[in-house]
């Protein structure tokens, strides 16, 4: 656990040292603020004291930002060979993968914490459903774990960051859109499975304030699956045929 934390802290520091963190936070706050307060179906347009517009925007922005965070995490180590140095230290493959996962998740948490003023503002101009807001944040976090683990997996199979970025977007877009499109065309069991895999419905039910174990299992199992795949790819060097 402590090793995981040491790795996570280093990765988080390197986000801030390389400006990635600042750019991500500024663009994330800018975009989500713009669409929450100023443009489109923003809060004043809806006329309700709710953070739903923010969650709807963040749902999309995180989809694009998280692959940009995760793309270099393992791919860069593969390219420069530092993965060899790291894994011959007294750490396990799991500690490395989980450390990197935690670093990404922490950065997302920091970005989300910085949107708390939105919440305070909305709360001061109307009656907010506080439970729904916290559930919305929880939904964003759960969704982030899914994208981070997909991103880490994509990053672990290549030494090229661009490939990792595009691949994680490609996998992510299935959960974002493609499964729901396919589900609407299929019937029976296949349709149900595809519908279950679609992230939108799970995210919306969580962010409306309904925390169902079905949804939690959905997010956590996909994250876990992604992490297992990433760990497998990292430890692939040990597999002998």
């Amino acid at each position: 656990m402590t090793k995981t934390w040491i790795i996570a802290v280093r990765e988080l520091k390197s986000f801030f040292d390389s400006l990635i963190a600042y750019i991500l936070i500024v663009v994330f706050l800018g975009l989500s603020g713009f669409f929450t307060w100023l443009f489109g179906s923003d809060i004043f347009f809806i006329g309700q004291a709710t953070l739903q517009p923010f969650f709807a925007v963040a749902y999309w922005t995180l989809f694009f930002f998280i692959p940009a965070l995760t793309m270099r995490m393992i791919a860069e180590e593969n390219r420069s060979g530092t993965i060899e140095l790291l894994l011959t230290k007294s750490v396990t493959d799991w500690q490395v993968v989980l450390g990197k996962f935690s670093a990404c998740l922490l950065l997302i948490v920091i970005a989300l914490v910085l949107t708390i003023p939105y919440y305070i503002t909305v709360a001061s101009i109307g009656n907010v459903d506080h439970g729904a807001v916290w559930c919305g944040y929880l939904g964003l976090l759960l969704m982030s774990t899914v994208y981070i683990s997909i991103g880490l997996f994509a990053s672990s199979i290549t030494s090229n960051q661009i490939v990792a970025f595009l691949l994680s977007l490609f996998i992510g877009v299935f959960f974002l859109i493609i499964f729901s499109v396919l589900a609407s065309d299929s019937t029976g069991l296949v349709g149900e499975i595809l519908n279950y895999l679609n992230m939108q419905s799970h995210f919306e039910s969580v962010s409306r304030g309904v925390i169902d174990t079905k949804d939690l299992i959905y997010f956590l199992s996909i994250s876990l699956f992604g992490l297992i795949l990433a760990e497998t790819m990292v430890s692939k060097r040990n597999i002998v045929d």
Partner: protein, 309 residues
Amino acid sequence: MNITVENLTKQYGTQKAVDDISFQVKTGEILGFLGPNGAGKTTTMKILTCFMAPNEGDVKIGDYSIHDHQDEIKTKIGYLPENNPLYYDMPVLEYLSYTANLQSVPKEKINDTIIDMVQVCGLNDEKHKKIGELSKGYRQRVGLAQAMIHNPEILIFDEPTSGLDPNQIIEIRNLIKRIGRQKTVILSTHILPEVEAICDRILIINKGKIVADGTSDTLRKQAQGEEMLRIKIEDETNKDLIFESLRSIDSVEMIDPIADTINTYMIQSKSGQSSRRAIFQLCVRKNWTLTEMTPVETKLEDIFRELTT
């Protein structure tokens, strides 16, 4: 800590990178790993450091096996990989404290060990810079420092002096010699004088197999076998007479006049015999002046070339 390598085999696809090699390294020994490119040096090192699993065979470090005790082994080994990969965006001190933490150096000792390593590796002037801003030689020192930071009992260096200037090479060699007294050191290189300068034992591998194992002296004797002498005789103009007289010495196997020189010969003795006394006495008898008699040693380069081509 002793290292025992038993029947190690590693295959990449159909190609055997390491083919059934076995050897032992004892505490306090500095083992030089020699071999042409692609001989399997780096692969062996990667297996020793638990980065890769072998197809067959085992490595025992002390009582620990690489199959069952990876965690214990990793804390006992300091490793400098080939090409010295480092995080270029990290400052030197921060990187060293990161590795110290990863290698479970106790919290209260971390500062002291870092200061120590910075001194030992001569990084004092550069310690606040980012690693990416350092020259190659200094990066190499950072690589050495991170390998030794947890005071490991075994050090494995893959080409430790590549990219260093001659002064730094000598410093690093001395450093390795000094730490090699209490620790077990394995280093790979293709700089042959380096092996002779620092290693107690040499292991030459080629195409995944060990082709020679021993100190540089024993390797030389093995390769050489017969005594070779280079002699120069003056005050005699009749070359044929010299040649015939030398040939009449019993222990001489072969005489080879060296071209472009006057009266200089290479003389190979029969195996196990020496012709030095006989040649001297011959010159005394004939009243010739012997101005040169040098035993010719086989160079390590020759041994290396002979074994690996």
